[in-house]
Amino acid sequence: MRYSAFSIVKNALSGNVNWKPAWRQPEPKPFYDVIIVGGGGHGLATAYYLAREFGLKNIAVLEKNYLGSGNVGRNTTIVRSNYMLPGNEPFYEFSMKLWEGMEQDLNYNAMLSQRGVINLYHNDGQRDAYIRRGNAMWMEGVPAELLDRAALKKMLPFLNFAHARFPIMGGLLQKRGGTARHDAVAWGYARAADRLGVDLIQNCEVTGIRREHGVVTGVETSKGFIGCGKLGLAAAGNTSRVGEMAGLKLPIESHVLQAFVTEGLKPAIDHVITYGAGHFYISQSDKGGLVFGAEIDGYNSYAQRGNLATVEHVMEEGVTMIPGLSRVRVLRSWGGVMDMSMDGSPIISQTPIDNLYLNCGWCYGGFKATPASGWCFAHLIAKNETHPVARFLRLDRFERGYPIDEHGAGPQPNLH
């Protein structure tokens, strides 16, 4: 059933009882040409593009919980392509372009809202770094603007211009950046993939990876053994655990990142704004809740919950950046488990095992990457060849000395 204004009216008039399931609930077949482990945004997008762009037919996505139960459903929904390094910027811009056509492509409104992302700077050093970043974006053809204090004051008068401990000097704006409705992205890809024949198998936990003669032959799951020709891992947060089943040792630590939403409010903040004197970032959802977050809690964790000290720190940053937030009530906090890589950048890569492919290490930035990650991973799996925009995201870049370190923090994941 195609979604449209017409379909809504038609169904409404018939009591909304004729809507069809968004996807089937298939039982696993004994063998798939490609199995993707992980029914989150990246896994679902990979399956969709494998089917649509690369013409593969016999594909399954295995999800241990419900579709979209991982980080795609617990993030701050920010979409942007404002990176500095050549290993990242072309990839994220490719993603941005895919976002821009995604809803029509999927026939699903993911509420992409290109409301503009503004990164504040507070001193000359930060300004220079943002100029470097903005120019790097322009090199890739991505428009960026440097805003001075006067321009910012006009645009965002509620920022703390009068009493900030670290004065706000200006910001870097990417107008095309913004937000999208996170769950809808997963559901849109799931529905579209399902319509192309991909089997989306929920409540199916992978418990082992079977290898014979050095290649993967299938996976042991809570629903029994399922054979496959190629296996793609897209289980961010749990990458190390799944990788271990195939004997992979990875440059990944799992960390918890908390995020927050306030009570619903009438429109107050129209952009995505990030604080330069801390990690704080904020936007307002279409429902009215202010959605925000900051840095990871700092210790390795697989628990999807954080600690109060970090909560307080996040609020301190928020109130310092926008003093008027002080009386807003935060409704809910949650935690997502991040794959933190050694350089803060992701991995889309072949592995030492021929038919095993890896998609991981998304750190804070997985949501915005969803379409490109899916496309490039599908490209790699289908053709056994790296997509040009993802060519730097190799697993062996650490060994070879080609880290993509946007923060310059070095091989300590919790600093990225």
Partner: protein, 985 residues
């Protein structure tokens, strides 16, 4: 009139009238009221509009689970949107306004959405608004955003104060109802340090609405007596108005105390809210149970209320919710409400019970309809009747309020915040907390023990067990005697069949039964999917009323047990908490501490304009009269240092004293260059790498004696370097005999630079500091005239003849004053960070603008400094990786514009002349740039692919952000005195 104030009864002070405003109209309540009870007493049933359909909504509860009665309280920057009227303590002058309506609460334009509701079912927005693509941000989204949201936030600086506080106890009791009071009494008497916290302004919990007598006195008197005893115990702390919102690892609880939210004019010396972090050895959750709403047609009209809330309004606040009340119930609680209301003279229109053959007895003369189902309600902005269906017959019964009671949901939120999943109890037809370990036990109604006797006993027993466990002996106590205890049992009813109108589950978010059905039909049957797809439970009440009904409905619709559906995840916050409370005092200028140099006062006297540098304030430049821009001051300072002499405060550099027989070996391992044989009395530049081979930090280290070194680090990484060294000393090489401590704060350190530096310094120092006696890179302890001991280093960041002088911090300002005084004859000036930066760029010296964490020593031109001889140092092995030694790496070069009047900005990128801008063609970037007063044009340091081979090449400095392209010549990065002639004089 329907709702009204009863002539007597209730825990309100009938002698204390409080005037307040609602939507501009002045009303009167009583001391002891909540805003909700006062509104009811004034017969204000309609208090808000729902989120999606803008339906009229009234007060449903008497507590924190309220979905409807959300108002905005306060004015201007002190505005609190989305405040629950049911927990807002009334005070004189309270000014509340309704929300989400336009132009008024009564006539709300948004109500048109209700007519469109067939088109606005769950998830409708995912299916449309996609065409044309550009319309989303411009047309659809703004409309949706305006319609959505609830209250309006005033994004102005909050004038009120907040603070945080720590508390520690043996036992935290959450909730002061019968369970909590007994637990606190037992534990308090046994000598435990007890904290009893309750969100209400009046303690006693359900006892405040109870009509039963305990130990021969009223429940209220029993509560008061218990509290009086607790107040008399020095080991017990009672915290009213304190909501425990979160349970965190190691039994740390987050709580927020509303210190002054109930006063019109807060005192300045007290916060309005205080955040508590409570570290509790044990905790006892006595949070009671929430009454479950019934899902029936038209259940959202103003006048439909929880039966228990009606009891609370009648018994605690002396307010009747209506004159003629119908009760719809599936258990005993509804009867209890009917009895209490009837006793207060309220007419009970009927009791409709979904069960048959019930043992419960209706008040005398009240009609009881068993096996009945409410299928609709009458009235527009308030209830005027109910439509009851029984055995196929419909009947309309007139009433002006409906009390509903669907059973009980134990409040287990806190117990399930750390990953534990709620467990379905088939006996109790509800979800209970599982065993979550020793740290927290759930007791009383929160554990499914609903009777008063059960609550008192459970609280006492569990507290005694905790006391024993912690090594206290709790004497066995006689339990209070309860008269007429009622067991509020019920038979679950997830949906009252035959609805002729929308039957709501989530009142605030307008989720009704059909939405759940649609979610199920479309494959969103997982409880989390259903929540996310329909938004059920995502409103400001966090699904306190709607969550379990949604689970029950999902189960019923699929013919499975609620156990197989489960609940959505419980997460902090139990009730919403202001960002202000969570931020406390750390905001605005107090967001981070300020560090001040011992020379801060000196700098101020000399006209410094300060700039942030990490936590420090440092002088950026010293404005003199007549200078209009920072550049004028900076250019003067630079010229003066090059021509005469200047004084710069470098006290903020990290300083570390390193002692021990293995200190030299230790330094040799943490620096990439050699330190083992540094002679006593010498300083050396040191480069510190990370283990991945990238430069981490740089500085100078001097050997003051054979076993005493003095290191300086950059200001930015002072803390990081210290931690890194501690890691190396403690974890990597614990056998090295080395100790160190920070001396950053002990020393006032100043750079005296310029050709006349020696003249100035020698005038202050007793020792001979001639070039022969104290050559370049000399370091040692000297005596200032007058006897003060100081450290002197002949090191130079500017490239001039320069000294760094360190004196004990307290004397710093006096010494700096003396230097200025002495230097006046030699034309001394104070110079700041801007000039320092220009001076170092002219000399080709690097800072963290160059060392940005992605740069190797070789990239920055220090390749030859890296010791090949040393067997090991941090970063040695990974420096040799292919990518770190590749020929096309970016290397540091100098740039000067081909046309001298053109400007270069840091952050610009580099392109070959004629090359098209693209990531592939990107040749590098400018790390630092400035106008060089010495050379009379801009200069820059840049990183350029294979840069050192490209001196003399013309390159485009591409700054698209500024819209500027400048052609520059690649050159050696040392612009001034490349032969170091100025250093060795």
């Amino acid at each position: 009139m329907t709702a009204y104030r009863l002539t007597s009864g209730g825990l309100v002070d009938r002698g204390a009238n409080l005037d307040f405003k609602f939507d501009g109209k002045t009303l009167t309540g009583l001391s002891g009221d909540t805003l909700a009870s006062a509104l009811l007493a004034n017969d204000r049933l309609l208090v808000g509009r729902s989120f999606k359909y803008h339906r009229p909504r009234g007060i449903v509860t008497a507590g924190a689970s309220e979905p409807n009665a959300l108002v905005t309280i306060g004015k201007g920057a002190s505005t609190d949107p989305n405040t629950k009227a049911t927990v807002a303590e009334l005070y004189a002058g309270l000014d509340a306004r309704s929300q989400n309506r336009w132009p008024s609460l009564k006539y709300d334009f948004g109500a048109v959405n209700g007519l469109l509701s067939p088109f606005l079912g769950a998830g409708f927005y995912y299916k449309t608004f996609m065409w044309p693509a550009a319309f989303w941000e411009k047309v659809y989204e703004p409309i949706i955003r305006r319609a959505a949201g609830l209250g309006r936030v005033v994004l102005e600086r909050d004038p009120e104060a907040y603070e945080k506080c720590w508390a520690h106890c043996d036992l935290l009791v959450v909730g002061s109802g019968p369970t909590g009071l007994m637990a606190a009494l037992v534990a308090g008497r046994a000598g435990l340090r007890v904290i009893l916290a309750d969100e209400d302004f009046r303690l006693g919990g359900s006892l405040l609405a109870e009509t039963t007598r305990i130990d021969g006195v009223s429940a209220q008197a029993f509560a008061e007596a218990s509290l009086a005893e607790l107040r008399s115990l020095p080991n017990v702390t009672i915290m009213p108005r304190t909501t425990v919102f979160g349970w965190y690892d190691d039994n740390v609880f987050g709580a927020v105390e509303r210190v002054q939210k109930h006063v019109a004019m807060p005192q300045a010396k007290l916060p309005v809210e205080r955040l508590w972090r409570i570290a509790a050895k044990r905790a006892l959750l006595a949070t009671g149970a929430e009454e479950r709403p019934l899902v029936f047609g038209g259940n959202d009209k103003p006048g439909v209320m929880m039966a228990g809330a009606m009891r609370t309004y009648a018994n605690r606040f002396g307010v009747a919710a209506g004159r003629s009340v119908a009760i719809f119930s599936n258990g005993s609680a509804g009867y209890q409400a009917a009895h209490d209301l009837a006793a207060q003279g309220v007419e009970i229109a009927a009791i409709i019970d979904s069960r048959s053959d019930v043992a419960d007895v209706a008040p005398a003369g009240v009609r009881l309809i068993q096996s009945g189902s409410v299928i609709d309600t009458q009235g527009r902005q308030r209830v005027s009747g109910i439509v009851v269906e029984r055995s196929g017959f419909e009947e309309t019964i007139a009433c002006d309020a409906i009390g509903m009671s669907g059973g009980w949901n134990p409040v287990i939120h806190l117990a399930c915040q750390r990953g534990a999943k709620a467990v379905w109890s088939p006996e109790l037809q509800t979800f209970l907390a599982p065993d979550v370990g020793n740290g927290l036990v759930v007791a009383g109604s929160a554990a499914g023990r609903y009777t008063l006797v059960g609550c008192l006993a459970d609280g006492a027993q569990k507290a005694a067990a905790i006391a024993a466990d912690l090594g206290f002996s709790a004497p066995a106590e006689a339990m209070p005697v309860v008269e007429e205890d009622i067991d509020p049992s019920f038979t679950a009813l997830w949906y009252s069949p035959g609805a002729k109108a929308k039957a709501f589950i989530d009142f605030q978010n307008d989720v009704h039964v059909r939405d759940i059905g649609l979610a199920l039909r479309e494959g969103f049957g997982h409880v989390e999917h259903a929540k996310r797809y329909t938004t059920n439970g995502m409103a400001t009440d966090q699904g306190k009323l709607s969550g379990i009904n949604a689970t029950g409905l999902l189960a019923a619709m699929q013919g499975i047990s609620p156990a197989d559906v489960g609940t959505t995840t419980f997460r902090p916050f139990y009730t919403p908490v202001t960002l202000g409370a969570l931020a406390g005092t750390s905001r605005d200028e107090h967001a981070a501490p300020v560090r001040k140099s011992p020379l801060h006062g000196w700098a101020q006297k000399n006209g410094a304009v300060f700039v942030d540098s990490g936590l420090w304030y440092r002088p950026a430049y010293f404005a003199r009269s007549g200078e209009k821009t920072w550049r004028e001051s900076t250019d003067r300072e630079v010229r003066n240092v090059r021509e005469n002499v200047g004084l710069c405060d470098v006290s903020t550099l990290g300083k570390i004293e390193i002692f021990g027989p293995d200190a030299a070996e230790f330094l040799n391992r943490i620096y990439c260059n050699a330190f083992l044989k540094l002679p006593v009395g010498k300083a050396r530049y040191g480069l510190m790498l990370r283990e991945d081979g990238m430069v981490y930090d740089d500085g100078t280290t001097s050997r003051l004696s054979s076993e005493h070194f003095f290191m300086t680090t950059t200001t930015a990484l002072a803390g990081g370097v210290m931690s890194h060294m501690e890691y190396c000393a403690q974890v990597l090489w614990p056998d090295l005999r080395v100790r160190f401590c920070s001396s950053t704060d002990q020393w006032a350190q100043m750079a005296i630079a310029g050709p006349k530096a020696r003249l100035v310094v020698q005038a202050l120092v007793e020792d001979d500091i001639s070039d022969a006696a104290f050559p370049f890179l000399a370091a040692g302890i000297v005596a200032l005239k007058g006897g003060l001991k100081a450290r002197l280093f002949r090191i130079s960041f500017s490239g001039e003849l320069a000294y760094e002088l360190a004196v004990p911090a307290g004397s710093g300002e006096a010494v700096a004053d003396a230097i200025m005084e002495e230097g006046r004859a030699h034309g001394i000036c104070a110079y700041g960070l801007e000039a320092l930066n220009v001076l170092r760029m002219e000399k080709g010296h690097v800072t963290h603008a160059e060392f940005d964490g992605r740069v190797t020593p070789d990239d920055a031109g220090f390749g030859r400094m890296v010791s090949a001889q040393k067997p090991d140092f941090i970063g040695k092995r990974l420096s040799t990786r292919y990518g770190l030694t590749a020929a096309d790496r970016m290397q540091m070069v100098g740039l000067k514009p081909v046309e001298a009047d053109q400007h270069i900005r840091a952050g610009a990128h580099l392109l070959r002349e004629g090359a098209k801008p693209s990531t592939l063609n990107d040749q590098g970037y400018v790390s630092s740039a400035c106008f060089s007063p010495t050379l009379g044009h801009d200069i820059a340091l840049a990183f350029l692919k294979s840069g050192r081979e490209r001196y003399g090449e013309r390159i485009v400095v591409w700054d698209k952000l500024a819209g500027a392209d400048v052609v520059a010549e690649v050159c050696n990065p040392v612009f001034v005195d490349p032969g170091n002639a100025k250093l060795n004089v």
